[in-house]
């Protein structure tokens, strides 16, 4: 049998993935430092942490915008967007996750759990970016401050989101690693090794 490779993560996707990953991790670390400045991050003081946080924040906003544009322009968003009909697959995915069934449910490029995570990350990122911009420069936004809990409310929201990202990133890495290392490999190399001539689920999803 000939061994085949299939490109499932094109270079652009990988570049965006790793750049955004680096941005979000830096934001989470500097964010937690700003909330609880302690010696646990060496060589960091408030000034550096805040400068890093703000500059990384703005760069990541542009990266996410770029990724969003790419997803919309190429139709890639079909792979990432969790839709209402995806709820139907949730029970099977839960059964698989909790070892009640052996085979993972059929999936498109990503399973519904991952799609849910990607969609929620995007929504939460947009909101947290807005709250970050408000905290960075409150003056132009003062009209909306009463509706969003004031600066303290924004700060609390940032904390909750940092926690959400910190924990779900671990979950994402773990699930990707445990369930499908071949796909994990693809986010580094782009290619996935295929073990049969006609792989199951190997048809391309038609563009909608």
């Amino acid at each position: 049998m000939k061994r085949r490779l299939v490109l499932i993560q094109p270079l652009v996707v990988r570049l965006f993935h790793w750049a955004i990953t680096a941005g979000v991790i830096l934001l989470v670390i500097t964010g937690f430092y700003i909330a609880w400045p302690t010696g646990w991050v060496p060589f960091l003081n408030m000034r550096t942490a805040r400068e890093l946080h703000f500059s990384t924040g703005f760069i990541t906003i542009f990266l996410v915008l770029g990724r969003f544009y790419y997803a919309v322009a190429t139709g890639d968003y079909h792979n990432l967007l969790f839709r209402l009909r995806d709820f139907r697959q949730v029970p099977a995915l839960l059964r698989f996750t909790f070892f009640l069934q052996d085979r993972s449910p059929d999936q498109e490029k990503y399973n519904v759990g991952q799609k849910f995570l990607f969609t929620s990350w995007f929504i939460v990122f947009v909101l947290v970016a807005l709250s970050g911009v408000i905290l960075y420069q409150p003056d132009p936004w003062e009209v909306i401050l009463p509706f969003v809990g004031g600066l303290q409310g924004m700060r609390y929201f940032q904390f909750t989101v940092a926690l959400f990202f910190a924990l779900t990133i671990f979950l994402h890495v773990y699930l990707a690693a445990i369930d499908d290392p071949a796909r994990l490999q693809a986010i580094f190399t782009g290619w996935i090794r295929v073990s049969s001539d006609k792989p199951e689920g190997g048809e391309r999803t038609p563009s909608k």
Partner: protein, 408 residues
């Protein structure tokens, strides 16, 4: 005549040099002479600890005496007035009737609204009925030229409206259907009220922020003008109240609190302020005070879930432990059921290759060299079947058939 711009500059300049007395008083006197009579003021204390009035008494420039005998005509004030009982209520009714549209209503305290407002009263009507705080505010509010909510309770509800708010306390702006100028503080700085009243008398309503606070006072955050800002930037933090250094780590709310304490200083003498006394700002002028600013010695509010309240720090730790525990338990499950072995030791190949929609999906076969390397790598692997356990009974057969496939 002092222009409005100059007046605001004077208020913003503040600090020890802040002197309404020397500069503003003559202008106020001129303005009041032109008015022919001093503007009547009703100072209505509703559900309050009287802290705002007592703080206001500390005004030094102008002195209280100058203020109430030369500038304003204080016609009613629960704490100050000599009259009591029926006489006091009559004085209130008189001014409400005679100076309708002219008087300035200063409300100090939150308004209890539960059960028809019976939890707070300023006295009794002549017929013996309770004259509730709610009724007083509702009756006097519409006839006032300006309504000023003095202190955080009147402006935003403050401690009286804090959870569980047994009296249904509300800020004045939620009781009256009209503009209310909020001058919060717990207590209020005397200058904040004097500057607001002076602006009202000289120039009318000052510029207000979205919370209806005069921007000449509540324009910048405490943190923006804090003399300990360098300590903050360099992470030199006080570990306990009483330590010098930035008080951020012991809960300072200066970064989210808009007012001018660091430059104005407390009180009539402009001598000091909390951070200078090595204790954190607790954000007393913020609309979220006190619930949203508690715990006072933590930066972030508590996480309140039904039946439990924990600090943000504890919530973060618990969430981290639960996630780590969940991942750990799943890992153990994956080992016991053989899933880990199947996925990791078995292969890094997949049968699920759907590249989805959009770019990607190109295919290639391994070059001879790559195939050789691949085969030698596969040869070195441990037999996956040995590690496969549990439910994945078909695993061994699958590995076998794969091997056979390879031999072909």
């Amino acid at each position: 005549m002092l222009t409005r711009r100059e007046f605001i500059k004077l208020c913003l300049g503040a600090g020890a040099g802040f002197s309404l007395g020397s500069t503003v008083l003559p202008r106020l006197a001129e303005a009041i002479t032109a008015l022919e009579r001093r503007p009547p003021v009703i100072w209505l204390e509703v559900q309050t600890c009287t802290g705002n009035f007592l703080s206001f008494l500390n005004t030094l420039n102008p002195r209280l005496q100058e203020l109430i005998f030369e500038i304003i005509d204080l016609r009613y004030g629960n704490t100050m007035m000599a009259a009591e009982g029926e006489q006091a209520i009559r004085a209130l009714e008189d001014v409400a009737r005679d100076a309708r549209g002219e008087y300035i209503l200063v409300v100090d305290g939150a308004v209890p609204t539960k059960d028809g407002g019976i939890y707070g009263a300023i006295g009794h009507h002549p017929d013996g009925r309770l004259f509730t705080d709610l009724e007083a505010v509702e009756t006097l509010g519409p006839g006032a030229r300006y309504v000023v909510a003095a202190g955080s309770c009147a402006a935003f509800g403050g401690p009286y409206a804090a959870n569980p708010n047994p009296t249904g306390a509300k800020p004045v702006s939620m009781v009256l259907d009209r503009q209310v100028i909020n001058v919060p503080g717990c207590p209020i700085h005397p200058d904040w009220l004097v500057a607001t009243l002076s602006h009202l008398l000289l120039y009318g309503v000052p510029d207000l922020d979205p919370y209806n606070r005069p921007t000449m006072i509540y324009g910048d955050t405490v943190h923006d003008n804090c003399p300990r800002r360098q300590y903050f930037e360099n992470s030199i933090f006080a570990a306990h109240p009483g330590d010098s250094g930035c008080t951020y780590k012991i809960g300072c709310k200066g970064p989210v609190t808009f007012t001018d304490c660091p430059t104005r200083q407390w009180s009539g003498e402009h001598l000091s302020w909390p951070v200078e006394a090595n204790t954190p700002c607790i954000g007393c002028v913020a609309p979220e005070f006190p619930d949203g600013m508690e715990p006072f010695f933590e930066q972030l509010p508590d996480v309140k879930l039904p039946g439990v309240t924990v600090t943000a720090r504890t919530a973060a730790a618990v969430a981290g432990i639960v996630t780590a525990g969940g991942i750990g338990a799943h890992l153990v499950g994956s080992v016991l059921t053989g899933r880990l072995a199947r996925n990791w030791v078995g292969k890094t190949e997949t049968t699920k290759t759907n590249p989805g929609t959009g770019p990607g999906g190109e295919e290639k076969t391994l070059s001879k060299r790559e195939a050789r390397k691949d085969a030698s790598w596969r040869g070195r692997r441990r037999p996956a079947g040995k590690l496969a356990r549990g439910k994945d009974r078909n695993h061994h057969e699958r590995v076998q058939s794969e091997r056979e496939g390879e031999k072909e």
